[in-house]
């Protein structure tokens, strides 16, 4: 049992730190969820990619550094500690790329990955449909066979970043006659500017168009943009849904950095601040550290050849509740200034606490609600009986 890092890990961390010190913008970029901010963040992805910091765990041939998961954790710690911008390429990198690595063709990888990592092509996910929230197997949008490809019809929703993104990926029902709802689905990539695609931005709680509805009317997708076998989409999507991806969706570095900033707020709090908030700051520090260490242990197990199984459901519940508690504590520490939106000129820390709070409110909902995750934990990790809810 050893928490010491190797010379290579130290060197990697140092290199990341000094690169970030030289490149992270001095003032925060405009919000990622605005047109202006989206463009600025896309530019930032280009900067990251140019020096091979966009996708450190990818092979060098695709613009990465072949970094280990541990190195990625260290990079993320440095990244968030440096206050670097949010990642507009995140959806593609964390949701689509693992699927391409496992199920894509060489041609797809060669064509898709580099532009994804450089921000040239920003990807949106298109999983949910109006009647399919947690119950993804009940999808209704269709992919119909046509010459050289497929025609997509139907409606997708809660497509993060789709208001400004270039392309999207999702599951479509290619065989309506299967007996079970998980069968007959196909995993496809499609352009958001193609004929037949209508993108209707949806404002989240703070009004920013953080996601969109997609209306698809005979949208042509060539065979080259099917991932895996047609009809096998559910298996393709699920095979990379857990495990490493559950860990990499939200890195511990995000929370260790936020907890440190929270502790700084606490230390600077004016006299008369509710002393009970101190305990909550301590809990945030401890929670962030716990998640960091838990991830180290998971990375160690993966490196030792173990699988995580359903364990990432623990991560999801934990980081989403930590994030919310942390930001609620921050807003309380800010007193009357905690009421300001991130767009207020006088908002503390350029509005990052307000933005973080709004973002955190969604945490228990997306990527599988925490209710679903607790069911999974109980059934798959504790072995409790399925079936009734």
């Amino acid at each position: 049992m050893d928490l010491g890092f190797s010379a290579a890990e130290h060197a990697f961390r140092d290199e990341a730190r000094s690169w970030l010190a030289g490149h992270v913008p001095a003032t925060p970029l405009p919000s990622l969820e605005t047109a202006e901010g989206f463009a600025a963040h896309r530019e930032w992805e280009r900067t990251l990619f140019a020096d091979r910091w966009s996708v450190v765990t990818w092979p060098e041939e695709h613009g990465g550094r072949g970094a280990s998961l541990v190195q990625w954790l260290l990079f993320e710690e440095e990244y968030h500690a440096a206050g670097a911008p949010g990642r507009v390429a995140q959806n593609g990198i964390s949701l689509l790329a693992p699927t391409l690595f496992e199920h894509g063709t060489d041609e797809q990888r060669a064509r898709v990955l580099r532009p994804m990592a450089s921000g040239e092509v920003v990807w949106a996910q298109a999983w949910s449909e109006p009647e399919s929230g947690s119950d993804l197997a009940s999808l209704r949008s269709t992919a119909t066979r046509t010459t050289g490809g497929w025609l997509l019809d139907g409606q997708k929703t809660w497509s993060s970043r789709a208001a400004f993104a270039d392309r999207a990926f999702g599951l479509f029902r290619s065989d309506p006659d299967t007996a079970r709802p998980h069968q007959g689905l196909t995993y496809l990539m499609f352009p958001l500017d193609a004929p037949g695609v209508t993108v209707r931005p949806i404002g989240r709680l703070d009004g920013k168009p953080a996601f969109a509805e997609l209306f698809l009317d005979e949208v042509f997708v060539p065979d080259a943009d099917v991932i895996g076998e047609p009809g096998q989409g559910w298996r393709v999507a699920m095979s990379t849904a857990g495990n490493e991806r559950g860990l990499t969706l939200r890195s511990p570095g995000r929370y260790t950095a936020a907890a440190e900033r929270l502790a700084a707020l606490w230390r600077a709090a004016p006299a008369g601040t509710d002393p009970a908030l101190g305990g909550r700051v301590a809990d945030a520090l401890t929670g962030a550290r716990a998640y960091q260490l838990f991830a180290y242990a998971q990375a160690s197990r993966l490196a030792a050849g173990h699988s995580l199984g359903a364990e990432p459901s623990l991560n999801k519940v934990f980081w989403s509740e930590l994030d919310l508690a942390l930001h609620e504590t921050a807003l309380e520490l800010l007193g009357p200034y905690g009421a300001l939106s991130d767009e207020a000129v006088e908002a503390p820390a350029h509005g990052s606490w307000a933005e973080g709070y709004t973002f955190a409110l969604a945490g228990p909902i997306y990527a599988g609600t925490n209710e679903i995750q607790r069911d999974i934990i109980a059934e798959r990790l504790l072995g409790l009986p399925k079936g009734r809810r």
């Binding site: 949910s128 929230g133 947690s134 119950d135 929703t157 809660w158 949806i202 404002g203 989240r204 709680l205 703070d206 009004g207 996601f211 509710d274 009970a276 908030l277 807003l331 309380e332 009357p336 200034y337 905690g338 009421a339 300001l340 939106s341 767009e343 207020a344 000129v345 006088e346 908002a347 307000a354 709070y357 709004t358 409110l361 969604a362 228990p364 909902i365 997306y366 609600t369 925490n370 209710e371 607790r374 809810r389």
Partner: protein, 331 residues
């Protein structure tokens, strides 16, 4: 002892509920958020006509007399319908001006000038006391700014600072003229703060009731995994907890109103207890509403967002739960 609303009070609530339900409040709130106050002011006039503002104004100033219980009844409905504007600040200003008038202090003339206009719905006031920002100063006819024994009135304010509830527009009051500098000012401000807490607690309660009702309706109709969401035990228990929080906060609100009405020495403590409980219950219900609506609850497209976003600022306005707990401990 008969700790029940009277038939008249219930009828008053029902009438307000009906009026507000038909008045297009969500549209007015959205307009208000964009700085367009006309529909909100029209709504204000209807509230005045229904007698809401007169409940904080003595009869000699053309009000209905100070009736904190009826005021609480009304503010539950204002909360239930997420009415925009400095409604709390206006009735708290009325309470402040009345006290100032009672004390015969320097600002008594202001009471005579403004109270009838408040009751009639012609004057919208904001009030800042011990806080950097005033609510909706850009929509108000004037802002009263209390600092220690001094009260100023001003029409000027700094740039609007959007808040996490965009319908609540905050700005710093600037300059102004001194209305009074008198020991009675701080006593009147303390009383006004209690009334503001009471009205805000009532709003939180009504807001929570509306959020609970909307969420119960949603989970009955929305199906996942081929059954209504509301048949899942986790959903049931979360909604049960929301109901418990609201049901147990409600009597605190009305008891606090009775204490204020009686001028009881316990009024400050009881108002603080009600504020903490109702504020927390309202916010907890909003979190539940958001979680159980899922992504659709997280959008500003549903009117639900008007309610969800208001829960936390109401919880904190005029006394955070921590401040109120401290007040409760003071006895």
């Amino acid at each position: 002892m008969r700790f029940l609303l009277t038939d008249e009070q219930r009828e008053f609530a029902r009438a307000l509920d009906g009026m507000l339900g038909a008045a297009g409040v969500p549209a007015a709130a959205r307009a208000w958020a964009s700085g367009e106050h006309k529909p909100g002011r029209a709504l204000w006039a209807r509230l005045a006509q229904a007698g809401v503002f007169g409940l904080a104004v003595p009869e000699r100033y053309a009000g209905a007399g100070r009736l904190p219980v009826e005021l609480a009844v009304a503010f539950v409905e204002l909360g239930r319908h997420a009415v925009p504007g400095p409604v709390v600040e206006t009735v708290a200003s009325a309470a402040f001006l009345t006290r100032l008038g009672d004390a015969g202090a320097a600002g008594a003339a202001a009471a005579g000038e403004w109270l009838p206009r408040i009751a009639a719905g012609d004057t919208v006031l904001s009030l800042a006391a011990g806080a950097p920002y005033a609510l909706d100063a850009d929509a108000a006819d004037a802002v009263l700014v209390v600092e220690g024994d001094t009260v100023r009135r001003t029409d000027a304010h700094g740039p609007v600072q959007p808040s996490l509830d965009p319908v609540r527009r905050l700005s710093r009051p600037l300059g102004g003229t001194v209305l009074a500098r008198d020991p009675a000012v701080s006593a009147a401000a303390a009383h006004a703060r209690d009334l503001a807490r009471l009205a805000t607690a009532a709003q939180s309660l009504g807001l929570g009731r509306a959020l609970l009702a909307a969420t119960v309706a949603h989970v009955k109709q929305r199906t996942q995994f081929a059954v209504p969401l509301g048949s899942f035990q986790a959903v049931k228990h979360r909604l049960a907890d929301a109901l418990i929080g609201l049901e147990l906060a409600e009597p605190l609100v009305y008891a606090a109103a009775l204490a204020v009405a009686a001028g009881a020495p316990s009024a400050g403590r009881e108002v603080a207890a009600a504020k903490a409980a109702a504020g927390e219950a309202g916010y907890a219900t909003a979190r539940t509403a958001l979680q159980l609506h899922g992504a659709v609850g997280y959008t500003e497209e549903l009117d639900l967002s008007l309610w969800i976003r208001k829960a936390r600022p109401l919880r904190d306005a005029w006394g955070t739960p921590a401040e109120c707990r401290t007040r409760v401990l003071e006895g």
